[in-house]
Symmetry: C2
Subunit: 694 residues, 2 copies
């Protein structure tokens, strides 16, 4: 790795084999397509009509068109071209006139352009959120309320706009509920001061259409719902997370990960999507405003596994039943967008080792393209031993390491962060990983008060319990795009009999899911869901090929069934939803979650009770945590890691990682940290021999 | 890292500060102590009495003595010396006269030396297992049975001795049940041929006292319990796991982990134990025949957390109810010993990076010390992002990586492997990780037969379902060695009321465990067990300091309550057992598990129904998998990973990882895999600048 020449030899980026005459059907919209889309929409209105664009994103082609396209591609044939289309949401600016449109970019026609009905609202966007902050801050009523707190001279107040939520009480119009905080008054110029450590009991409500404060809620700060007069501020200590505010530990020695021969994966860019090939895996990566990273056309050794994978939505309902907190229930994808909130992942900070970044492009509120750089990082990592066996008779150990490919994106949802990753390994396994981190959403609490629905994490600061309920959308194609089924296995004790005279026997029973619906885990029965292709049998044992789903159990939504929280989060009540595929059913909580009323998400689709046996099925996998805050989660929380695994079950004919080369010191170049021992087996030689060449 | 001088500068091994006049009370027995012990036992018998030693291990001093010793140590005082004692199990060789003895090495006296009663049997040992293999192989009845199979000329038959198990039917004497396999007849000289791919239907039963075959069981190979005549062998393909039998993939590029300034941990050896210090953690590592790796005296920033941590036992009951398979139920620690089965971990194969190894010494059947080299490896690893927050207003990201310290040991239990590790991180969290790998225990099955209790993983090969149920013993000392309690939290919906008018509120309720007993998880209630010190309160919120236990739910033992399997595996029926500490209660399945009858393990101790509130409590945490074999698990299975986490809950006053230095390219030296992008922010310079010095 001494010269850049060596370095660039091992680049994973391949030029596309054939020049793309038009973008791949699954590629996200390019900057020029975004511009063309907004122009076409604007031209459908009288000149100078001011439009506020909310979403300009790829309208993915129908699966019925795309699957033949992919098949032709994989067979080296020329696919039938598919029209490029854009999906658009917009308002007539500063009105409640919310529209949904489809633009055909191939014909340059607006194919659909309709105003949506009552109680359908758009997501927030970056420009709007900044504007709402300003409105809240500048409002005289709000300033009058703040004045009553008698904050120290020069105190900076911060307003965090929150999605208003729904409770059915005077909430037909689109609003924001802002929560106010202050920076450490002793350090008011520190823009990265942790204002969540200093919450204020004032919460303005803002009309989005009018861009004005329509109400100022005073927050309950005791054990009950009583709201008193605003009292003068009394001193609270700050609680900063930025490194310069810490006495940093000095005993962490550097740890470097290097790949002297480059990475094992390749990236073929095709417009706004990239084909990744790695260790028999191949798939396409896309990125959009709503879901962020999307994985398409996942194949292993030229066999189809998944047509499309994405985080569909997440819901975070809070436990405090008191107004206005009872409405705190965010859909971070539907209400804002995982793509829009994606971090620019800087080299060396968010990944370690040899990294490739993918860029994307989204649209702003004017319909202009905005570059989104480094939104996905791709790298390999060592995940410990992959498999091992030692023959105790000969003492010979056969051992391989488990190399993983990681595609990671990180989103910031105001206070919280989610680190979202797809991981692939050499044993044909795929994992979706979520790391929840960032800062707790906080609210003021009086001294000496304890409540059962939250934890005091700092003087005067309550972090309320909340659930994070994620829904991963899995559109499988296990050896077929059109004929998969979902089954579950359970293990049951055999009754005593002449066959089982000692009461030790047990057996596995398989149940086929026949109708669309919500289904649950049952750890006591070892219930395991599998996505199966009953038409393709394993050559060794004749069982249907399948992938099983390893999802951790979690507590389902606690809000009661009549609550708006429950009605809206249509995925939050079951571990698994199984439905028949429909092109427009991507989002488990419904297409429009902001101030939604329910009835438009996966629960509604499942209620069709369709036959899902040997059909084009889609599985929504739910998982989550009930976050009961600890003091240790403040001022920034250590990552809480959740994983959903997909593993082959009788899909291959033997361990697919059997052909991974053995773990050897020659390849691994480990270092012995001891003068008392021989390095042994040429350990230092093999490694240092290589290293001395660097 | 260019010279060995640089390299050795960063060695983690420290000389002990003071010369140890005698071993630390928690240090394992030294070679000379082992020799002295066996000599003292031998001298208690007439000359030329041939003893078969089974166990010679440290008899750990009473906690009542050790805790004051540790306290004195931690305060820099001279502790009161504690007598060194050895625990011994032995037989009068080739008899059933099984003894338990305590030898006081300080006074050189045998303090206790008793013959144990009926139905108490020792573990197997390495020499005995080899001898049993030979007995089975050489027996004329066995050879006559093998002859009926008409195996190809030169076929090598392998005999795997199995612990006999218990069913109460003529099993008072100690026996082995051997399972026979053959090497690939086309390759009979390959000592590492995977004989588990070629099981034979013959199973000799051997008397340990007589060292002879007392019965040859013919195995059922159909769907029912019928046992037919032995039939001539018909061809079966081999299924090898060794790399030279594979067409190895060639596209895995090397991945190196290096620590150019050395490791961040230090090791202070004190006889047969070592003090590890790393990132505010300190603890002592020991190693013994039964449990293998043991962690003592775990402290964080000079606060006590755990007195002792070890894998207590594991049980693996199989699902096939037919004789003799119904007895297949192994206790891998009690029946053999995790220490005895520990692998020698070779540099570069089992760990990656900068590694320190610990050696140990155990005893053989003659009471002689045998060196056990490299039985534990210690290294640091990068575990991704530790925490992150991006201020969306300024765009500034604060991010740290999560460094972990790993102590790993690997055991081979005949066909299976377990990779066992304690992991510590910078957020005060500890994890116990098990990776199950190795080869399935197989048996012959007729062509075309499917059974509900196993999976055909290869032509003629059945892998029977089986449970792996682990019991981790946790002796906590959360800010006190004598006053901890175990509680559990649950989250419950609040009923609708004027306080909760929208049905969205929920609350956490804590339940104190008052009596020793078995307790279970309840994911639907988000039940979380915590080990708490009610006498020490968090300065921020006044809550008792605690560590919570994150254990995954698992299916408890399926064998019915009247079965021997259930009676013997006393830990297998509950997620958690809470008991009062007693010095001699280390092993959840009882001290003597081989052909045990139950009544001597944690269920029996819990049945005392002792008060466990603010006492010296011990927690046994159970976890496991019900392994329903897949074809992909053969001929060697990809690791199945299980984790049990321990996390602080209101133990610290803020995120304990807040002082981890920020993740920076300067420290991480990552490499950009793209010519299309600028490296940016001095990325290449910072890193390559350093590297060019190497």
């Amino acid at each position: 790795m001494s010269s850049s020449a060596d370095f660039y030899q091992s680049l994973p980026v391949r030029p596309a084999v054939t020049k793309q005459t038009q973008p791949h059907p699954l590629a996200a919209l390019s900057a020029s397509e975004i511009s063309a889309t907004s122009q076409l929409i604007k031209s459908s209105w009288p000149p100078r009509t001011d439009l506020h664009f909310k979403v300009i994103t790829l309208e993915e082609p129908a699966k019925a068109e795309t699957v033949p396209f992919l098949k032709a591609e994989h067979h080296g044939l020329t696919p039938v071209p598919i029209a490029r289309k854009a999906f658009v949401n917009y308002y007539i600016r500063d009105t409640d006139k919310f529209h949904e449109a489809i633009v055909n970019l191939s014909t340059r026609q607006v194919e659909r352009n309709v105003r949506l009905g009552a109680n359908v609202h758009s997501n927030g966007d970056a420009e709007e959120i900044v504007e709402i902050e300003r409105v809240a801050r500048d409002d005289p009523q709000v300033q009058a309320a703040i004045a009553k707190l008698q904050l120290p001279e020069g105190t900076v107040v911060i307003s965090d706009p929150w999605i208003y939520g729904s409770d059915g009480v005077n909430d037909d119009d689109r609003m924001y509920q802002c929560f106010l905080y202050m920076r450490d008054p002793a350090n008011p110029l520190e823009a990265d001061s942790n204002h969540y450590a200093l919450p204020l009991p004032i919460s303005p409500v803002i009309s989005v259409v009018e861009k004005k404060v329509i109400r100022v809620d005073i927050l309950p700060t005791g054990a009950d719902a009583t709201v008193g007069e605003l009292k003068p501020y009394s001193y609270r200590p700050p609680n900063e997370y930025i490194p310069e505010a810490q006495d940093l530990r000095t005993d962490v020695k550097p740890l470097h990960i290097s790949q002297p021969e480059g990475a094992s994966f390749s990236v073929t860019d095709q417009g706004q999507s990239s084909i990744i090939e790695w260790q028999k895996w191949s798939f396409r990566v896309g990125f959009n405003q709503r879901e962020g990273m999307v994985i398409y056309d996942v194949r292993y050794d030229d066999r189809n596994l998944f047509y499309r994978l994405s985080l569909s939505d997440m819901n975070i309902p809070y436990a405090d039943p008191r107004a206005p907190y009872h409405k705190k229930s965010a859909f971070d994808l539907g209400d804002v967008g995982a793509g829009l909130m994606a971090n620019n992942l800087k080299l060396g900070c968010d990944c370690l080792g040899s990294i490739h970044y993918l860029d994307s492009v989204l649209a702003n509120d004017k319909g202009e393209p905005i570059p989104m750089d480094n939104v996905i990082c791709i790298h390999e990592q060592d995940a410990g031993i992959g498999w091992k066996h030692t023959n105790y008779r000969t003492g010979r150990a056969a051992v391989v390491r488990n190399r993983e490919l990681v595609l990671q994106t990180i989103i910031t949802v105001s206070n919280y962060e989610y680190i979202l990753a797809f991981l692939f390994n050499q044993a044909g396994e795929m994992t979706y990983e979520v790391r929840a981190t960032g800062i707790l959403s906080t609210q003021p609490i009086d001294d000496g008060v304890d409540v059962s629905f939250g934890t005091r994490v700092h003087p005067g600061v309550l972090a309320v319990h909340h659930q994070h309920i994620f829904s991963l959308r899995v559109d499988p194609s296990i050896d077929s795009h059109t004929s998969n089924r979902v089954v579950y296995d359970e293990a049951h004790a055999m009754p005593r009999s002449s066959f089982n005279p000692h009461g030790t026997g047990y057996e596995v029973r398989e149940t086929v899911i026949e109708h669309s619906g919500g289904y649950d885990l049952s750890p006591d029965n070892n219930r395991i869901f599998k996505i199966q292709n009953a038409g393709v049998r394993n050559a060794v044992n004749g069982k249907p090929v399948a992938y099983k789903i390893h999802a951790p159990p979690f507590q389902k939504m606690l809000a009661d069934k009549d609550s708006f929280n429950h009605k809206r989060a249509e995925f939050a009540d079951h571990n698994i939803y199984v439905v028949r595929h429909r092109d427009d059913e991507l989002f488990a909580g419904g297409k429009y979650t902001n101030q939604s009323r329910g009835g438009t998400g996966v629960r509604a689709w499942a209620d069709r009770r369709e036959d899902v046996v040997d059909q084009d099925v889609v599985v929504f996998v739910q998982f989550g945590i009930n976050h009961i805050p600890r003091v240790e989660d403040f001022p920034v929380m250590p990552c809480e890691v959740l994983k959903v695994g997909f593993k082959p079950v009788n899909f291959f004919e033997r361990n697919p990682a059997l052909d991974v080369p053995p773990s050897s010191q020659g390849a691994n170049c480990s270092v012995l940290l001891s003068e008392e021992k021989d390095a042994g087996e040429g350990a230092m030689e093999g490694c240092c021999g290589e290293k001395s060449k660097l």
